[in-house]
């Protein structure tokens, strides 16, 4: 049984005691078991590592720590050996004995498991040497690598819950609000509303009780930073919430997590239990007389529920539909009471600001957007994962320095930020600094931080259609512009992608975008046209190609492409023929194979399996007439 901490000095004593009990020379092997690494087999590595350590009788000397997400998911499972901080990538269970015998016992580095740079071929031993991390400034995410999210002691040893007594005993609630206001912290959920002002409004609003809510309803496809913080460092959010509640005068808080993130739900529940046990939550926190409890509310999968008024409805137990916001949630929110709702990242910044001060926070980032921004850099870049950078970094640096450039040496086409509500940013704006205001100027937005890079093989019209489809699906149907407008947009885009687009379609789409922007009830509808507006502005030629020439320049839209076997490259190996699900390929030994265009369903299986790159996509869909019976031109097999 853990003893409840009754004062700030007891917390300090506990921290000192834990640190004193830990042997600094003891090896710690930390393995990321975030969703990404687990998908790549991290659990098996943990298991084998445990057995290996047991069989070598190293239990006294080595501790295995299962941590949250380190961000660089693509090269998982990830293993870091402390205190040397040697970082291994793509570790398989069969590599474990070598790590134990070389690195842990002899302190040697296993070279083949180190990170090798795509371009230069250089290896990196520690995280700081990896280019992906070198250019980042990780203030929120850095602790993920060192913390076992299921163990509150890890967080405490790293200075966790240090900001809490500082706020509770050395500051008045008013002073905390002032500090957050001065820090220029803006809401990280995407809107960028000044957090301090929101807190002040809630604090001054009449009505009791007041509520605080942490929003982790990350329904935005392509973004997973909230997940990794809740999974990897749940206590930072809890601490932020307690301080916020103290400042605002709330005694009850909620953390809203999607049920699609089972690990996040599990970890945050464990963390709440431990905080409660330690007297950091509940009645009379640290003997200060302040009471505060937190409950977890699991979201059941609705994109629109991430919208503040919809999220509040969902917590109230009703359908998560947005309400008109004549009165803000800060004044009338949950059960009609003043409610302060912030993204989990916003809450997690709070303890850092209290500890390190306003000047420190303002020194990072730009004048109007202080601090760092977290993006999930995904799509067609070499290094995909979570990146935390100071506000104001240019998109070019983000994509080329951290992201390592475009995959397979292809050409950059656009980057899409802000999820389904954001816009496409073309190459000419790559030097735009990334912050709340600059991104809005080029027609996109910060959003929750999804950043999807697209190369020449991505069809902009197709992706726009994807977003429209997604939003039309997720629209709650309450207001007409969103419900019907999106339906029409999807219809028109489907038509264009199918090759029956009309000349006047672009104009109609523009009109519909305007309608959506002006007349929708909530932000889902009013920003829904952003992808459409930016894509038709920056990539008008692609739309015109689809409409006029029935041609998809990126060769994606199914009705506008045809698959064709190049007779000079085909080696008549029968592989495509056997894999074709509809038996549309004719051929035999030493006779060049031919696709029957009538039967072909354009699934692309043949391209995937062809070992000779003999199959190509053609657009417009008029392949040269292929005659059957041509003899193979023999070629050396690769």
């Amino acid at each position: 049984m853990v003893e409840k901490l009754k004062s700030a000095s007891e917390l300090t004593n506990l921290r000192e005691r834990i640190i004193a009990n830990r042997d600094p020379s003891k090896s710690v092997v930390s393995i990321c078991i975030g969703t990404g690494c687990t998908a790549l087999g991290a659990k098996k590595v943990v298991e084998v590592l445990g057995e290996e350590i047991k069989s070598k009788n190293l239990e006294e000397r080595v501790k295995v720590k299962q941590t949250g997400c380190l961000g660089f998911c693509e090269v998982g499972p990830r293993v870091i050996v402390y205190p040397e901080e040697i970082s291994y990538f793509k570790v398989k269970p069969e590599d474990v004995p070598e790590i134990v015998s070389q690195t842990i016992m002899k302190k040697d580095v296993v070279k083949r498991l180190l990170y090798v740079d795509h371009g230069t071929g250089e290896t990196a031993t520690t995280l700081e040497d990896v280019p992906f991390y070198k250019h980042q400034q990780r203030i929120l995410l850095e602790k993920n690598a060192k913390i076992d999210p299921k163990d509150i002691e890890d967080y405490i040893t790293l200075g966790g819950y240090d900001a809490l007594p500082k706020a509770l005993f050395q500051m008045t609630p008013q002073q905390v609000v002032e500090l957050v206001k001065k820090s220029n912290l803006r809401g990280r959920g995407g809107g960028g509303f000044p957090t301090g002002r929101k807190w002040e409004t809630t604090r001054n609003a009449p009505g009791e009780p007041k509520y605080v809510i942490a929003n982790c309803d990350e329904g935005d496809p392509g973004a997973f930073m909230d997940r990794s913080i809740v999974e990897g460092n749940p206590h930072s959010i809890i601490e932020g919430l307690i301080i916020g509640a103290y400042a605002i005068g709330a005694h009850e808080g909620f953390i809203y997590v999607r049920e699609e993130y089972p690990l996040a739900v599990e970890n945050v529940n464990i963390a709440l239990g431990q905080a409660q046990e330690h007297g950091l939550l509940g009645e009379n926190i640290l003997g200060s007389g302040f009471n505060f409890t937190i409950r977890v509310h699991r979201g059941a999968g609705a994109f629109v529920s991430g919208e503040s008024s919809a999220l509040i409805s969902a917590i109230e137990g009703t359908v998560g539909e947005p309400k008109p916001k004549y009165v803000h949630a800060a004044i009338k929110g949950l059960w009609g009471k003043p409610t302060c709702l912030n993204n989990v990242k916003t809450w997690a910044y709070v303890p850092l600001i209290i500890l390190n001060g306003v000047d420190w926070f303002r020194s990072i980032g730009t004048k109007n957007s202080s601090g760092t921004a977290i993006f999930s850099l995904v799509g067609k870049v070499n290094n995909t994962g979570l990146v935390e950078v100071p506000m104001g970094i240019t998109l070019r640096n983000l994509i080329y320095k951290i992201g390592g450039g475009i995959k397979d040496g292809k050409k950059f086409k656009a980057v899409q930020t802000g999820g389904p509500s954001g816009g496409f940013i073309p190459e000419q704006y790559l030097d735009t600094p990334v912050d709340f205001d600059e991104l809005t100027k080029v027609g996109s937005m910060m959003g929750s931080g999804g950043m999807i890079v697209m190369d020449e093989d991505t069809c902009i019209v197709d992706v726009t259609r994807y977003y429209a489809n997604f939003l039309s699906d997720e629209s709650c149907g309450k207001c007409v512009p969103c419900r019907e407008g999106l339906k029409q947009i999807v219809g028109i885009l489907n038509r264009i992608c199918a090759g029956s687009g009309r000349e006047e379609d672009l104009k109609t789409l523009d009109d519909l975008s305007e309608l959506l922007r002006d007349a929708s009830l909530c932000a889902l509808g009013s920003t829904a046209a952003n992808p459409l507006t930016t894509s038709s502005l920056y990539f008008k030629d692609e739309y015109e190609e689809h409409i006029r020439n029935k041609r998809c320049p990126s060769k994606v839209c199914r009705d506008l492409i045809a698959y064709y076997i190049k007779p000079e490259s085909c080696q008549a190996c029968l592989i495509c023929l056997r894999n074709c699900p509809v038996k549309a390929i004719a051929g035999e030994k030493s006779i060049v194979h031919v696709i029957d265009q009538e039967k072909c369903i354009k699934c692309g299986m043949c391209i995937e399996v062809c070992p000779f790159d003999a199959i190509e996509k053609l657009s417009p869909a008029v392949p040269p007439t292929a005659s059957y019976g041509i003899k193979v031109t023999p070629k050396k097999r690769r």
Partner: protein, 246 residues
């Protein structure tokens, strides 16, 4: 508690509701056997039939007291049918009561109207779908109209009102997976299983669903079967992966 806690279920007099209704005639037969005559009448009839069958086995055509025994025979058959039906009903009832007990536990954990979504999530996780029985029972327990429960259950993507297959196949069609070929994966899975997204295969083995983002975008395209994640997925591997599940 945010709202006044509800009275525990035991305090309230509620009709014994089980979702099955009997006709008057069936009820009276049941009553006769259970209350007035007990099982003895059935037993005596069965005894009579035993004698009858013995009599038949002796090869005698015209049994003595044939009229009375004939009547008994008919009645016995009727009762045996009724018994069989009652047995079946009993089994069905037991099953439903078992389900309701579990739902009761879940509802008791929260015992709060506002926690309806949480209750439904737990039920979905437990049974893999939300049955009509569950909806009616929650409605009775929390005094929420069934229409409100259906409103929630149809609004949120997480809930299903039809039973799922033994294995759940989820194909991620988030943006990152979309640009990396997610739709092709979905098509191939649909073709391999012979169902469209949202449906269950006819043998009840697989449910196929799309999901809008699993938060492992770095591995796209991703498919998840039950709780096994398959990242950087190739369409050619669909058959191989699905054949692992039985």
């Amino acid at each position: 508690m945010l709202n006044a806690p509800m009275k525990p279920a035991d305090d309230r007099k509620k009709p014994f509701f089980v979702g099955l209704r009997m006709t008057k005639e069936e009820r009276s037969i049941l009553d006769k056997i259970q209350e007035k005559v007990g099982l003895t009448k059935t037993e005596s009839l069965l005894k009579g039939l035993e004698i009858l069958s013995e009599y038949y086995s002796l090869g005698l055509d015209q049994p003595p007291l044939s009229f009375e025994l004939k009547k008994l025979e008919e009645e016995a058959i009727q009762h045996a049918d009724a018994l069989k039906r009652i047995r079946r009903r009993e089994d069905a009832l037991k099953e439903i009561i078992h389900e309701l007990r579990i739902i009761d536990q879940i509802v008791d954990k929260y015992n709060d109207k506002n926690a309806l979504i949480q209750i439904l999530i737990d039920i979905q996780n437990k049974f893999n779908w939300i049955s009509k029985t569950a909806v009616i029972w929650i409605s009775e327990r929390l005094e929420i109209p069934t229409s409100s429960i259906y409103q929630i259950a149809t609004f949120y993507k997480f809930f299903t009102l039809t039973p799922r297959g033994r294995h759940l196949v989820r194909v991620c069609l988030g943006t990152a997976c979309h640009v990396r070929g997610g739709p092709k994966v979905m098509e191939t899975v649909e073709r391999t299983l012979g169902v469209e997204q949202g449906d269950v295969t006819s043998d009840g083995k697989f449910s196929l669903e799309r999901v809008n983002c699993l938060g492992c975008c770095a591995l796209g395209p991703v498919i998840v079967v039950d709780n096994d994640y398959y990242g950087n997925f190739k369409t050619a591997d669909v058959g191989k992966v699905l054949s692992k599940y039985s």
